[in-house]
Amino acid sequence: MKGFYTRMGDGKRVIMTKEQIINDIHAGIADAADMAGVPDLKADEVDLLFEIISDKNRIVGVEPGKEVVLTYDIGQLDFTGDNGNSGNGIDVGRRESALLHERALGGDTFELAHADYSIKPVKPIISNEMQAMEEIQSEIIIPFFYGAMPNSGLYYAPDGPYGNPADLMREFKIEEAMQAAEFTAEHLARDIEYVSTRMVAAGADGFNFDTTASAGDADFVGTLKGVEMLRKACPKTYIMVGMAGESVMGIHGSIEYKGEVVAGKYPHQQVKLAEKAGANVFGPVVNTNTSKSLAWNMSRSVTFVKECIRVAKIPCHVNMGMGVGGIPMWETAPNDAVTRCNKAMVEIAKVDGV
């Protein structure tokens, strides 16, 4: 059997024929187009996807002149974190990590992060974070953000003051569950304003809201309101809003931002809300299905993201970590798969950054 070495969504090596790859490309495109109501990719784009996947080289890349900007989430935790963050477990300082990304790893931007990488736990140590930002800003040259997940899950019981919607819904307390989500959104927005404006006052170039809407629609609304407050307080600061998935989960179900229900929004709709809130850069996310092939996942991700880029008025930096952007859900994501997804996003979806 003549075939091509490729991957599954969990990273495992498989051999697929040309026909199987082409079929999976079409199926991935159709899945995204059907879910989000976005256009299919064109025939020449299908051909290019096949060419990228079937390339005989381990590593592929974009043509010279098509380079894009590389931004990060999770900051220095890629070195210092444990395997929960896919970190290396190296107890290197945050300053050293930032400068290494600038001078050795080709970062166009970088960010400072709390070990828990969430807004809420930053509050009690805000002075410590401000001091670290001031110190690093005196030495770094590339745009240096503060980054954190809105992570509104931390505001629900047992970690926070509000009832847990999952528990309340199990008890058929639907109204109470919705109210808890609404309280959480408002609390999150206030905390975002508190943390982000102080980090900008310490010299941060801006703020990266990472994994937005990970706790669903109220998380998204709270983040957008927080972004709005930051934009009002700091009109020139750089704001990046990166998402958690291709569709916003309806934990509340009907919570709105500027008159629009946010549950069920796809990347091309999410970006419009980020624009309204005042973001400068949007980070679309498409999750990987581990049971499907790289061809299926890559094609599906590119289809979602291409439409997002087409309608966006602001630049978009697509999320391409382990398990997103078509990349296999595997801690040591295979480089052949990572570079193929990267090339496809840049040359077909036309992303402004990764």
Binding site: P64, V68, L70, S138, I142, P143, N335, V338, N342
Partner: protein
């Protein structure tokens, strides 16, 4: 994840002009092509050349906007960013704060 992405499509930060392009994306909401054209025009280069390490290495040292190697007396941090502000006609938050505390 940084290395394969940088190798596949990254501008390379201060190896080339990636930091300058990023600043235009974030400060002016410029999409990638427009941001690269803006920076290229300011540097007197083509959009292909601003991602070329061979061209940008010496130019960055000459413009005093930061290089990846440890060159004595080459501006780093706030000093390099103040030069970047002038070069691409933008304001950088940490430089604004530096001016405020030093009354310059």
């Amino acid at each position: 994840m940084a290395v394969p992405h940088f190798m596949a499509s990254g501008m390379g930060g201060i190896r080339s002009a990636g930091d300058l392009v990023a600043r235009m994306q974030f400060s002016k909401n410029m999409k990638i092509d427009k941001a690269k054209e803006y920076v290229a025009k300011k540097l007197g280069l083509s959009t292909l050349e601003i991602a070329d390490e061979h061209i940008m290495r010496e130019l960055r040292e000459e413009l005093k906007i930061g290089v990846i190697t440890g060159v004595p007396n080459a501006p780093r941090g706030i000093a390099a960013k103040m030069n970047i502000e002038r070069l691409i006609d933008t304001k950088i938050n940490s430089c604004e704060l530096f001016r405020e505390v030093t009354k310059r």
